[in-house]
Structures are given as C-alpha cells and as structure tokens.
Symmetry: D3
Subunit: 302 residues, 6 copies
C-alpha cells in the first residue's frame, strides 16, 4: 500500500473513532459559551466555528452564546465615551447600553456570517428576538449601575422552534425588562439560563484558563473531573478563589437544573470543543452531579 | 340608549366594517418597506408598529424591511468619519460598512423590541441570517463605490420557515457576497426582491410623498390607481421624473413577478397602512397589472 | 387633514384599540348561547352573526349553541298540535319531538347559511352528529314529561376535530339516549355542558335581560361583576329569584369545571358580543371564580 | 366435527371470500344515492345502513346522499299545503322550500342516528354546511318553478376534511345560490356531482327497479354490464325510455369525469350494496367506460 | 327470490354479523403465536394466513410470532448433525444455532411470501432486526445448554413504527445477547414478551390441543373461560399438569402486564382465529383477569 | 503543547476536513453493493460495517445490498448437493433455491447483528418483504436454468418508509415472481435496480479489483473517472472485456436513470467507502454522466 494511501487510512480510522461519540450526542443540545481569546484570535475563532459547524452537521444541536468584551470598550472610546466600573461591573448608562448593543449585534452577525460561509444555516438573535431573554435590574452591592440586568426567564420555545427548522442559533446576551427596556446581561449567566431552559446535554465555557486548578498559577494542578460535592468542598477549603467562585456556582446551578455536564475548556487550544467531545482526553474541567456520572462515555473511559 | 353606549356601538360597527378586508387578506403575506418620516417621528413609528402588529394578529403575515437612513450618518459623524457620495450613492468603505451594519442592527432590534412590547413574536434578521440575501458588487456608472451590493438571490425558505413558526420577520438590508463578504443593499430593492421571492400579496412602501402625482408639487394631482401600462406611459411622457422613475420600475418588476399590488403610501399619515387595507379610500398610489385588477376589493369598490 | 381623512383615522384607532383583546383571546374557544330577541329580530340576528364571524376571523374559536323557542310553538300550531306544559317544561310526546327537531334543524341550517354568506366555513350539528350529546330522560318533580333529556356526556373530540378543520360549529340541543332515542335538551344546559367539555375560555349567554340586577325591575341595579362566592350569597339572601337561580347555578358549575368567565349579556343591544369582548365597558354581568379574576383584562381595567 | 362447528366454518369461509373485495376498495370513496323503497321500508332501511356501516369499518369511505320523497308531500299536507307539479317537477315556492328543508333535515339526522347506533361516527350535512353545494335556479322548459336548483359547484374539501377525521358524511341535497338563497336539488344530480368532485371509485343508486332492462316490464331482460358506448346506442335505438334516459346520461357524465363504475341497484333486495361489492354476482346494472373495464374484479370474474 | 340470490343473502348476513367484532377490535394489536400442526399442514397454514390477512384488512393490527419446530431437526439431520436434548430443551451449540437460525429465516420469509400473495404488506423480522429482542443465557437446572436464551427486553418501537407504516410483522424468536451474540428463544415466551411490550389486546396461541381441559384425555372437559384466579387454583389442585403449567403461568403474566385476553386455540380447526374473533362460540380456552372481563363481547354474549 | 495534545489536534483536523463532504451528502441515499473479499475477510467486513454505520450517523441514508457467494456453495456441499453451472450461471433447482435463500438469510441477519452492535437501527430484508423486489424468470441463451430471476420492479416505498423510520435497510437479492414464487437474483442487478428506484445519489460496488483498468493485469492503468461516453468507447475499442462489460452497462443504465455517480471500489482496501466519500483521492473508478459532473466535489477537486 502506497504511503499516500496509508495516510488516508489513518484519517479514516480517526473518523471511525468518532463514531461512538457521534452516537452518544445525536440530537442532543449543546450550549457553547464563546468568549475570551478564542473570540479575538482570528485563527482560534475559525477553529471554534468549524467545530460547532461539524457538531451541527453530524447531528448535534449546538447553540452559541457570546459576549462582546474588549470590542465594546474599543467602540466606546471611538465615540468618545469613558468606561466606568463599580466592583468590576461596567456602569451602563443609556449611551453605553446603545454602544454595547450595537457592538454585540455586529459580533453576532459576524459569527452568523462565518457559520454560513461553512454552509450551515445560522440565525443571530439577541434576547429581544421572540422575547427570548426577560430580565430585571441588577444592583451591585445596592448601587445602581444602570442597565445591567439578570435573567428572569428564558422562552425555550423560541430556540426549540428554530432548532426544529434546522437553524444554528447564535445569541448575544441582551434582555428585555418588564416594561420592555433593554438590559445588558453577563454572557456566562445567559448561557447558564439558556442551557437550563432547553435542557441541554452539555454546557461548555470557552475560557482563557486551562480549567479549574488547585493552584491557578500551576497548569499541572488541573482538576479533570469534579462532582458538585467536590466543587463545594474546594470553595469551602478556599482552594477555589476569585472570579471562579461565582462561575462554579453557576455551573452547579445548571447541573442541578438538569444539564448533564458543564465544561470549563481552554479556548486557547485550537479545536478544544472537538477534543472535548470526540476524545476521552478530558480537556479542561468537567463538572457533573456525582460519582455515577464519572463514567460518562462508558466504562472504558479513563 | 346612553351616549356612552352609542359611542361603543359605533366602534363595534367599525370593527364589523373591517370584516371583508380581514377575510380578503387572511394568511396572505404583506411586505412593508418601512422608512422615511415614519421611522424618525416617534408617534408615527408607534402607529406603524401598531398597524403591522394588528395585521399579524388578525391573520395576515406581515414582513418588515427597513433601512437606517439618517441614523447611519449621525453615527459616522460620532465616530469622526465623513460621508462621501457618488451620484447620490454613499461610498461605502470597510469602516463605513461596519458602522452602517451596527446602526442597522440597532434599529432592527429596536423595532423587534417595539413589536414584542405589543405582545407579538418578532425576529430581527439581516440578510446574513440563514443566508437570506445574497448579493454582488454594484457599480455606479462604472465607478467602484465600495461595499454597495445588489440582490442576486433571496432564500425564501428562511422567511417561510419563520412565518410557519409564527414569527414576524423584521429585516435590515445587509447581504452576503459570493465569498461571504458583507454588502450594503438599498432597502427598497431588498423589499422588492423579498416580496417577489415569497410571492407576497402586497408590497407597501412607506414614503414621504403623497404617492405618485402628475405634478409632484401639487398633492391634488395624486394618481390613486395605476396600471403597469399607464405607469410606463407616464414615464415616457415625462410626467414622472427623478428618483420616482427607478422606484416605479422596481414596482413594475415586482408586479410582473407575481406581487398583486404595490402601494406607495404617505408614511406621514398616521395608520396609513390600516387605512390602505381596511378602507376603500385608497391612500397613496396603488400599482397593479391591468384593468382587471382595478376592482380589487369587489365590484362595489369605488 | 381633510375631514374625511380624520374620520378614517378615528376608525383606524378603533381597530388599534381592539389589539390587546384580539391578543388576549387568540385561539381561545368561546361558546355563545344564542337565543331570545337576538334570534327573532332580523337586524339583531345579523349583528350577532357578524360578531361571531369577526371573532372567528381574528383568530378566536367560537361555537354557537342555539334553541328554537317560539318557532317550535308556531309550527306545532301549523300542524294542529296544542303545546302542553308541566312546571314550565314542554311536555314532549313523539309528535312534538318530531316537530321540535325539524324546526331546530331549520333554524340551525339558517344560521349556517348566514355565516357562510359572510365567507366563513360553518357546519350545523345536532347532538346526534358524531354522537356529540348523549342524554338521559329528565323528570319534572317525578312526572314523566316525555322526550325531555339532560346531558350525560359530551364528545369534545367531535368539536375539536371540526375546529381543527377550521369549521365554525353551530349546534342545536338534540341528544341521543342510551338506546339512541332522540331527546330534547334545554339549550342553556347544552351550552354549559359543551363549554365545560371543550374547556372554553368564555361562555356567553345572549338573554333578554340587562344581566343580573339586584332589583330586576330596575336596570340601574345591574351587577357588572360577580364572584362565585358573591353569587351564592345573593341567592341565599333572596336577591336573585325565579328562573335566574338555576341559570346562575349552571354558570357557577361551568366556572368550577374550568370555564374562565361566564357572561349574561343583553342580546337586545346590537353587537353586544363585540362590546363585551373588545371594550372594558362590561356589558351585562360577568361571573368568575374569585377576587383575582376581577382584573381579567389587565390592571388598567376599570 | 360437530354440526354447529361446521356451520361456523362456513361463516368463516364467507368472510374469507370477502378478502379480495375488501382489498380492492380499501380507502376508496363510494357514494351511495339512497332513496326509494329502501328508504321507506324499515327493514330494508336497516339493511342499507348496516351495509354502509360495514363498508366504513372495513376501510372503505362511503358517503350517503339521500332525498326525502314522499315524506315531503306528507308534511306539506299536514301543514295544509297542496303540492303542484310542472313537467313532473315540484313547483317550490318559499313555503314549500321551508317544509322540504325541514323534512330533509329530519330524515338526515334520522340516518345519522341509525349509523351512530351501530357505533360509527356519522355527520349529517345539507349543501349549506361549509358551502358544500352551490347552485343556480333551474327552469323547466323556460318556466319558473321556484326554488329548484341545479349544482354549479361542489366544495370537495369539506368532504375530504370530514373523511380525514373519520366521519361518515350523510348529505341532503339542499344548495346555496349565488346570493346565498336556498335551493332544492334533485338527489340523483347531487350524488353525481359529489361523486365527480371527490373522485369516487363507485357511485351506486339504490332504486326501485332491477336495473336497466331492455324490456322494463320483464326483469329477465336485465343488462348486467353496460359500456358508455352501448348505453348511448340503447338510447338511440329507443330501447331505453322515459326517466331512465336522463339518469343514464348522468351516469355517463359521472364516468367521463372519473368515477370508475356507476351501479343501478335494486334497493328492494336486502343488502344489495354488500351483494354488489362482495360478490361477482352483479346485482343490477353496472355502467363503465369501455371493454377494458369489464374485467373489474380480475380476469376470473364471471 | 331465486335460490342463488337467497344463498348470497345469507352470505351478506354473515358479513353483517361480523360488524360488532370488527368494531370492537378496530386498530387493536393482536399477537398470534403460530406453531404446531397449523404450521405443517399446508391447508391449515393457508387458512391461518387468510385469517390474519383478513384481520389486517378490516382494521386490526396483527403480529405473527412463529417457531420452526420439526423443520429444524430435519435440516440438522440433512447436515449430518444429531440433536441432543436436556430436560426437553435442545442443546444448542454454535453449529445447531446456525442451522436453527437459517431454518427459522426460511420459514419466516415463506410466511411473508404467503401474506404478500394475498396482497397485504408483510415484513419478516428476527429479534436481531432493530434490536427487537434482547436476551440472556438460560440454564436448564443449572446446566449450560448452549445458545438458548430468555427475553430480557423488547423494543416495542420497532414494531409500532412498522405497524404505523402498515406492515404486518412476522417474527422468528432469535434474540441478541448483551454482547450481541445470537440466542435461540422459545417462541411462546417471545410471543408473551412481545404482546406485553406492545400492549396487545389479545394474544392467541395456535396449539395442537382443544384448549385447557380438566381431563386432557377428554375433549369434552374443555374449559371455555378461565380467570387468573381459577387458573391458579387448577394448578394447585393438580388438575393442570405437565407442559401446560409453564404455558398457563406465561399467560397469567401476560394478562397481569396488560394483555386483555389470552387464548389457547386448537390450531387443527381451520379458521380457528376467525372463529374465535368473529363468533361468540369460544373456540378453545380464553384466559382473562377476573369476573368482570367474562362479558367481553357485551352482555348478550353467552 | 504536549505531543499527546498535538496528536489529538491532528485528529480534530481530520474531522474538520470531512465537513464539506458530510454537508455534500447530507440526507442523500447511498446504495452499497457489498460482496467479494470484503465479505469473507472478517477484518475487512468490520471496516465496511463501520463505514456504513458512520455514514448513517452523520446524516447519510445508506442501503446495503449483498450476495452470499461462496457461503452458498459451502452449504450446498454440506447438504450433499452438487452445484451445476450453465454459462457461469448457477442452475437453481428448487432444492438449490431453498439452500440459497437460507444462506442469504443467515448472511443478512449476520450483517444486521453487526450494525446493531455498533448502535445503529438496522433491518434485514429479502425482496419478499413488502414485495420489495418483483422478478421474472431469466433464461441463459434460451436455456432454462431454474429459479434464476431478473428484476421487473422495485417497490421504492418500502425502503423510503423504513428510511423515514430511521432504519438502515440491508437487502439480500431474493425476488417474488408474478405468481409469488421465489427467484434468485444477481446482487449487482438488484443493487442497480434499487439505486434507480430510490433515486440514490451514489451506487458503490465493493469489488475485488482496483477499479476499471485499461490493462486489468496492471493496477497502474486504473481509470479514476469515466464519463458514460468514454465508457462506451472503451467497450467498443475492446479495452474493457469479460465480466466487466455487463457490469459497466448496468452502471451506465443506473446513471441514465438518475443515479449521480456509480463507483467501482476495491473492497480489499480497508475503509474504502470512507476514503471514497471523505477524500478527493478517488479510490477505484467513478462513472458519471458527462464532463460537467467531473467537478463533483467542487472546483478545487483534483
């Protein structure tokens, strides 16, 4: 057999290896919170979109939720507006809200464009479309920080209807208040709320860390798998600190609401989504309910 | 009977008068090109949205296509960019395209927000979503004016799928080129192309004129009904001039492609859409195929 | 703006006012018990049919239940038969039953004809069709009064299947006994049983009174809204008397079986149905479960 | 084997014999024009209804069309009205029309009642329901004979929708004119028009003759099978005379419009419908297109 | 009336007699365990297939489960293999399993062929198709008897999907073990498990005995009807013995799992299935839950 | 990045490479004629089944058609029967037919078993099931060679119904004659007929040659792509000879009946099916209509 042919054969074997995973997640909903470096670096961006598109084509039902991050600040400066922060939260006056919504919209349709160019039917939504995300004012230690909101309800039917019509929904976290005013919502929180509402099989966060580490400064202390119970203990013991605490609580809440697994993936690794789903490797940290869910991919999964 | 009651009775009679029109357009698609004063004046805006929402609720299938107009120029200035025009067409470099798309997106979701606040399921799309509008570069007398495009195809299924799921689609005229680059499209042209693709019953332009007048300076010369034949003659005779010529040609093309009636309405009149549909009055100018279609609402229609 | 135009504008505003009500009852089933003056006076009749047809066209699902009243007596005389009554109930021997069924059938198809002439798909049923109404013999104080029956069961699927096929069902209250004999049923009772079986949102009785009054002789004592609790108290206190007592008990039963609101309307007012549904006025008396349902049309409903 | 058992065995064999016929007409529409003696004699009536019910249950889709015949005259006398005839057609003034419609309605619901008592879902319609039968005034040799109409169109969807919902439609031949007035239609004509509109496989007339005979006075001259061509020749030669001529022309028209076979059956024979369909015997006269359709039940059909 | 005609009339009456039974079992699933003489004798075989085909055509949903019996031994001899038995169970080594599967397959497709020749859509399955029958190794008094299995689960959806597509499923009792090895399953057990899984209305065993007799040597001691309670008592009292004991226990289990009636029929009587279903006679023994189910065909059923 | 990780990354890239092909054939039917070495060698067999299963899971609709080949001869010997051949065709007397059908059935269910073990819903059919393959006697140069048949018709609905219910159909080439006798059909012919009937996108033959070579003795003369026109010329010029001639004619016929591409693949190469579909390499010979279809996978396909 020629060398060329042997190379092709290896490729075929890779596809065959994917078979049990494709089967495992067939027609399951997977919510991907997309952000961080994977959103800024154009090559990483392309890899993420390729991954999600492949998941769609082989029968999964992915939903993307994204933020706008640095792009918002860039445009605020461009329009001569200085960002202000209270406790790390952006104070969002009307003008800021307007710019934020415009930037998120631009990012949103840009992602749609990328997915479409790979031949998959995408649709870009904000939480306003179909009244998808309803929100209420959020305060920061009692202080009014403007149009920052927290999710009060998700209209899952909007997403289920679009999935039924074979769209890949891409969502930016803008919500509608009780009186239909606009609120800016944290993208992580929106992804959690959406994953719960549509009973997602998986919720994957693309972040800029390796996952949860016992020592954040040392990548080799990465925790591959974490039960809810273990997670809570790590917080109590003070092993987990800072911004990871609220994130972990969100993950735990999502799992308790029926999401099977939540993943904190390192978005700086190309194709991290595919690697997570199609290998037993365990990129990043997987969080799940208890001991039983440890053997998620079958008994031979180490 | 008390005076109050008599007043109520009159209202009931108005509703009953609407009966034959509701019947006439039941489940028919109506494309509304929304722009001009009706988009700037907040009161007029609310009236238009109320009208479209009512049409949706009584069984019609409206689709809104809108532009961004003056708002785009305002934001370009805000970001320190000077608009340039060639033959009246905005020269659209990459930066202009970016701002234009952001502004159109903001306007788009703002309209969604308004419709949602009236309790109807809306969804905001650009031509990128689902690959709805495909476009190619447009030249102005052979001159390159940047990312200005003209529609090459419309994926009607995207809209039909959303209508089936009971969404009211609101569309801004951004298109995808052959290599998936972004193009800015004239909103009138987009509305025409969409109306043709979905076989709309009606296409209504909300404009800032009374309709087509034999003497544009004299509102009393308004032409209420115009066959294609008559329209062409008016152009030949020089009665119709300027920007109205290409608009009339677009209308004629839409009619020849199967749209029953095209209306040029005066968007400065509140509820002009309802008035057009629910009365025999004939707001603005109606353009249709030939003599036979003159009796559109039945033989008693004068 | 011309006077003509201002008049049109007012009409458009009336339509817009109807918007929240259309939304509120979209796809809801509304059972109308049709009888009394509204059935005899040709003008009133036309108004009722227009109302029901409009409700159908704007997305409601009306069902009409009607009696035959005076028409039955007229035809009995015509065929030389003397009506006999026991405790106000018509003694219904075989011959009477035959005439009653024929007259009800005639009235039934006459209503179908009217609705059809307004362009809506109607279908006329007796309780025999599809075995819709099953009945058993009813006695009056132990006395045998012939083929007078009371409803034992309603086959809701017959109506739901017809509604699904977009028919407007018009029903006359004839029932089938256990051995498939014919029974004459009181139209009010039939309407109640049907409204319960199809889980109607509303049940409206078109009667010849203003509604429930504390002093039936004085229209100004009309009670606009009545909770079940209040209704029972009025009966206990003796405020409500005579034929209104069993009617009120039927209404209460229907509400307890899941109908949201029961209305006793004055059928002598033209378009009373539309007025009830599209205004906050409150024609006649509305009966509902408790304090909470008082704010049926929203908090601004006075 | 006991005698009892042998008897049962014979019965089983009869059922098995029916197998190919059940298969042949599975899901086919069969229109039965029901009238004559079979409608008056209570035993014959029961047999017809049993037959139609069996056809329904084994997978056919029967539709019954019936007249009212002698019952109408009986009720006219009862109400003191004298029937008048012109050229054998009943002059139908408004009062006569009213009585006719009432009687037809009574007969209609009576048949529904019988079918329901055998456990099959029936629905009784006049041509008014769903606008099923549209008609226009018919003149007799230019003379105005009142509300006598001829069918101008049949809304087949009304019947197809009801068949889809598993109803057995029973129809009395009342039609709606252009201005929605009531017309009395000949039941044979209505049956023909309906069979054509729904593309029936068979149209069977239950009549009071053996079928078409070359000598009507001699039953032994019965013609079992007749092609259109042969039928026309018999009329030309004068073999067929009187009322049979228009009937034969109607049959020919129905066949040319797509009905496979038209049967003129002797309704005085109990179970004549079953005998026609489940045996090769050939009750009455079968009319069909040409030589090829002679072997309708297969080559072994003599 | 001619003698021929009278004969036909009797036949029609037999069909009419079947009416209530056709109605009773319309769309109900009936599992037939086919085996014994009825499978060997070609005439009896044809009768059974005719019966099942008729049941299918008149609206029942039959499923056939069959064994291979003597045919397996015949082919084993042909291939030079000696059958061995332990406690009456065939010791099934790999080679025996291979022959058994081939023979069952041949018998299976032969039955499909017969049903198809009667014009009904049949499909032949083993328990491997769609993973219909999952099994585990069965031991005989602790002894390993090779690839003999017992049902662990039935995938009812496979059958329901095929019934929905109007197939008549014919099943041979081969099952798949946990590691997808082949197991031979007792046909009676397979039929019981399938009847339970699809919630069959009836389960009929075609056997070579008259039914359950108090004295197996005396056909006149046949028990026509047996409640579960009575059945258990007969076993306790020692009236029922031998191979009938496990069979009766299977029947009882099936009834407790929701099958309405289990029948032990004498497959040597031609058309025994039709006789059971279309007469009140009671061929063989019917087993059911309790006293109440004794009046299965209505109160006039003696 | 660790070496392990880099290896994983390469795997992810292989999956991403498959993306455009998955897209290209999404929901398309692919008929695989399975035979030769790939059926005998257990490792090759497993590879083919893995390939087909993967195709199913990523959204294609594969159908397998297989023969029995050497296994039939082996079992004939086992049962003491000598194979006879006329012009290379097996003379098939009744006994041979019986053994052939049994062996094909065994092979068929064995394949079902393999597919099921990979977690995909398979169903094993012969041409008898649902009357899928109808056949007539085939003569060899006028000589009667027994129960050898050629396809007269395929009931595509049987396969389309099973595909709709998500089954992977596996078919052995047994057909039913006009009188429902059993015929043995050449598997290649059956695959061709089936591919045509279901309008397959592709028909792939797994054979024991590299493909079509200008010199069969020299693998390096393999023709990768062949238009119908070119194929005919090669036959005329005598380049293609022997058994390849009828095979090529079958391919041409299939293409003319609407199959887009026919492939002659070398079944001795593991995963040859995947290689054909997921690479641009072009395993074996692809036959298609004309020049235009040469660029099947897009313009960059060399």
């Amino acid at each position: 057999m020629s060398q060329k042919m042997q190379e092709y054969l290896k490729k075929a074997e890779v596809l065959i290896e994917a078979l049990p995973y494709i089967q495992r997640f067939n027609r399951k909903i997977i919510v991907v919170k997309y952000g961080g470096s994977a959103m800024i670096d154009e090559t990483l961006k392309k890899r993420v979109i390729e991954d999600v598109t492949l998941l769609k084509l082989v029968g999964f039902k992915p939903i993307i939720v994204h933020g706008g991050g640095k792009e918002i600040s860039r445009w605020m400066e461009k329009t001569g507006k200085q960002p202000t922060f209270v406790n790390g939260l952006r104070v969002t006056d009307e003008e800021t809200m307007e710019v934020a919504e415009m930037v998120l919209g631009k990012v949103n349709k840009g992602l749609v464009q990328l997915v479409e160019s790979l031949g998959v039917r995408a649709i870009g939504l904000s939480g306003k479309d179909g009244g998808l995300l309803r929100a209420q004012k959020k305060f920061s230690d009692g202080k009014d920080i403007g149009f920052v909101g927290e999710v009060t309800s998700v209209d899952a039917n909007v997403l289920l209807d679009l999935l039924e019509k074979d769209f890949l929904p891409i969502i930016c976290p803008i919500g509608l208040g009780e009186d239909y005013q606009t609120y800016n919502i944290n993208a992580d929180d929106a992804a959690c709320a959406i994953a719960q509402a549509v009973h997602a099989e998986k919720l994957a966060f693309l972040s800029d860390v390796e996952g949860i580490c016992t020592d954040p400064a040392d990548a080799s202390t990465l925790i591959s798998e974490l039960t809810i119970q273990e997670g809570k203990q790590l917080i109590e013991k003070g092993t987990i600190t800072g911004g990871m605490i609220p994130k972990l609580y969100s993950c735990i809440e999502a799992i308790q609401a029926g999401v099977s697994r939540v993943h904190i993936l390192d978005g700086r690794i190309p194709h991290c989504l595919l690697l997570e789903i199609f290998t037993n490797r365990g990129i990043g940290t997987a969080i799940f309910e208890g001991e039983r869910s440890r053997f998620y991919y079958g008994p031979d999964n180490q």
